[in-house]
Amino acid sequence: MHSDLTVLVIDENAIRASIIEEGLREAGHLRVTIVHEVNGIARIIENLKPDVIIIDLENPNRDMMEHLFQLTRTVGRPIAMFVDRSDTASIEAAVDAGVSAYIVDGLKKERVKPILDMAVSRFNAFSRLQRELADARSALEERKVIERAKGILMKMRGLSEEEAFALLRQTAMNEKKKLSDIAQSVVTAAGLLM
C-alpha cells in the first residue's frame, strides 16, 4: 500500500543506510534508492523524482542540498522539510536521532510520518549498536589489561592466579578505583621497572 512512494536515502555510513533500507522494505516500500555520496545528486534527484529524501545530519553536504532545493527550477519541484511543523515532538525526535527528511510539498502527513518514524528508530538503533560495540571493545581491552597485570603479579610475587586477582580486587576496593585502572597501573609500573 506504501509502495507507490519513492524514497531516497543519502547516508555516508553504508551500514546505517542498509539498516534503513531494510526497514523501509519491511514496511512495504519497494522504491528505495540508497546513495553514499552526494556527487551528482542533482541528476539522481531529477531522474528519480523522490517523494521523500532522508539524509543524516552529520553529512556536511546538507548545505549543498539546501542550495539544490533553492534552485527549484533544477530539481523541477518544490521540496520542503518536515511535512507538518505542528508535530514538534516527532521533529525533535528526528533531530535528536540525527536524521533529517525532505518531503515533496503537498504530500499527506499520514503517508510520510511512518517513514520518518522508522528512520528515527533505525538511526537510534544504529547509535545503540555503535555504543554497545564500543563498550564491548573497551570491555575486551580491560580484560586484556587485567590478564597482563595478573601475569605480572604471579611472576614477580610468586602468587597463584587466584591470589593475583584477589590482590588486584582488594587494592581497587581500598583505593576506590576501577579494577581495570589498578591493573593498568601495574602494567605501566612494570613497564617502567623492568
Binding site: 549543498m64 522539510m81 525533535e92
Partner: protein
C-alpha cells in the same frame, strides 16, 4: 580563574565550570575564524563573568545549525548574517523565526580562483599581479567569453550556502565584472573545510568562503586570491549570533548578559596583543583544526595570494569590535534583502522589507550596552556612501528605494524587481 588580560604565550585554562550556578547556554558553531568572539567568550572567562556558561557545540552544516536552533537543541548559534533575514522571510526549507541582536564582526571572506584559471586570465588580458578586485573580475569575464567561443564548459565555482554573505559577495564580484552568475558560471555549494581539496582535485575552479580556507588554498599552491570582502564592500555584514525571538522575549536578562559578554570578548579579539593566544586557541582540533601559523597570519591580514610569494596586507581584514562592528544595523539587513531580490530568491514588497528588517534587533544591543555605545548615525542609513566604504562598482544603497537599487544593476536575475518602489 585565568584573566584574559594576563594571558601570555600559554593558553589559559578554560573557564568552563568555574562559574558555579551559571546559566548554561548551548551554542552551535561552524569551525571558522569568525566564531572567534563566541569561542573566546566561552573559553577566557567573559561569559562566566556574566554568570553564563557557554556550551559550544561544533556542527557541520548551516542547515543543521538552523534546524537545531529552531528545534531548541541550541539556545543561540553562530550564523551567516543573511540567515535570520531568510528565516523571517520564510525562505529556504524549514524557516523558523530567528533574530540577531549581535554581529560577530566584519571581514574574513575572500574569493580564490584556481591557479589554472588565474594564469589563463593573465595570459589573455596581461593582468598585473597587483590588479584590483574589479580588474580581476573583468579579466575573468574575458576568459569566460573566450571559453564560450571555444565551446569549453563554463567553470564551476563554490560558495557555502544559498543565504550567505559568500553567495551574495561572489555574485556581486562576478556581476561587477559583467559576469552573469546564473548563466556564465555554475555556482555550487561546497562545505568550507573541503574547499581547498575540491580546488586541488579540479572539482571546482574557484570559491568564496571565510577564513582561513582561502589562505589554506593559496599556501598549498592550488589557488590565487583575487578579491577580499573589503574590496567588494568594507562594511558588509558577516556572521551574527542568532536566537529565537520567543526565547529572547522570555529571557531578556540572559540576552543582555550575553551581549555584554560577547562585547567584551570582541574587544579582546580586536587587540593585536592577544592574537598569538587567539590563534593558538582557534587552531585546536576541537575548533578549526588548521595550522596555527596560517591562522596567525590571517588575523594580521597578511595574505599570501599564492604560493609564489605574492603578498598583500589587508588592514582590518578582521574587525571583531571597533567601529560598531557588533551593531546589528538594520540597513544592512535591508541590503541583504536587496540581494535576495536581485538574484531571484525573493520579491520586493514593503511588507517584505518590514519583515526583513525585523530580523536585526539593535534595540536589544542598545538595551544591554547602553544607547551611548551604539553608533550615532541612523539605524537605516545610506550604505556604501562614505568615502572609505564604497561598493566595488560604486553603487550606493538607499534602503528606502530597494526596487530602484536592484533595477539599476545591469546584471541581475531575470525579472528581478521590474516594479518600482511606488507600486507598494
Amino acid at each position: 580563574m585565568t584573566r584574559p588580560s594576563d594571558s601570555g604565550t600559554n593558553l589559559p585554562l578554560p573557564a568552563v565550570g568555574t562559574a558555579r550556578g551559571a546559566k548554561v547556554l548551548r551554542a552551535g558553531f561552524i569551525p571558522l575564524m569568525d566564531a572567534s568572539v563566541l569561542i573566546v567568550a566561552a573559553e577566557l572567562g567573559f561569559a562566566a563573568r556574566e554568570g553564563l556558561a557557554l556550551d559550544l557545540v561544533r556542527d557541520v552544516s548551516w542547515a543543521n545549525v538552523r534546524d537545531r536552533l529552531a528545534f531548541r537543541q541550541f539556545d543561540i548559534a553562530h550564523m551567516l548574517s543573511p540567515m535570520p533575514v531568510a528565516s523571517m522571510l520564510g525562505l529556504g526549507s524549514n524557516p523558523s523565526p530567528t533574530i540577531t541582536p549581535f554581529s560577530l564582526g566584519r571581514g574574513g571572506n575572500a574569493i580564490t580562483l584556481s591557479l589554472r584559471l588565474f594564469e589563463r586570465m593573465q595570459a589573455l588580458t596581461g593582468l598585473d599581479d597587483a590588479a584590483s578586485a574589479l580588474d580581476n573580475a573583468r579579466a575573468l569575464a574575458s576568459v569566460l567569453a573566450d571559453m564560450r567561443e571555444r565551446g569549453e564548459q563554463s567553470p564551476t565555482l563554490g560558495m557555502t550556502y544559498p543565504f550567505s554573505s559568500h553567495n551574495y559577495e561572489f555574485r556581486y564580484w562576478l556581476a561587477a565584472g559583467g559576469i552573469d552568475p546564473d548563466r556564465d558560471v555554475k555556482l555550487v555549494v561546497v562545505p568550507p573545510p573541503l574547499t581547498s581539496d575540491a580546488l586541488a582535485a579540479g572539482a571546482i575552479d574557484g570559491f568564496c568562503v571565510g577564513a582561513p580556507w582561502n589562505m589554506v588554498a593559496s599556501e598549498r599552491g592550488v589557488g590565487r586570491i583575487v578579491a577580499a570582502k573589503q574590496d567588494i564592500w568594507p562594511s558588509a555584514p558577516e556572521k551574527v549570533i542568532g536566537m529565537r525571538p520567543d526565547w529572547a522575549g522570555a529571557n531578556p536578562e540572559t540576552v543582555s548578559r550575553l551581549i555584554v559578554a560577547l562585547g567584551a570578548a570582541a574587544r579582546w579579539c580586536d587587540d593585536g596583543a592577544n592574537h598569538d593566544t587567539l590563534a593558538a586557541l582557534l587552531a585546536e582540533p576541537r575548533y578549526i583544526a588548521a595550522p596555527v601559523g596560517i591562522i596567525r597570519r590571517v588575523l594580521a591580514g597578511e595574505f599570501s595570494l599564492d604560493s609564489k610569494g605574492h603578498r598583500r596586507t589587508i588592514p582590518d581584514y578582521f574587525v571583531f569590535h571597533r567601529d560598531h562592528a557588533n551593531y546589528p544595523r538594520p540597513s544592512q539587513a535591508l541590503w541583504i534583502y536587496s540581494q535576495m531580490i536581485r538574484w531571484g530568491q525573493a520579491e520586493f514588497s514593503e511588507e517584505g522589507a518590514r519583515v526583513a528588517v525585523s530580523a536585526y534587533r539593535p534595540d536589544l544591543y542598545r538595551a544591554a550596552l547602553g544607547s551611548s555605545n551604539g553608533p550615532a548615525d541612523a539605524d537605516v542609513r545610506l550604505e556604501g556612501a562614505a568615502p572609505d566604504d564604497r561598493f566595488m562598482d560604486g553603487h550606493v544603497f538607499d534602503p528606502n528605494r530597494i526596487a530602484d537599487y536592484v533595477a539599476a544593476f545591469p546584471v541581475r536575475a531575470f525579472g528581478a524587481s521590474n516594479g518600482s518602489d511606488e507600486d507598494a
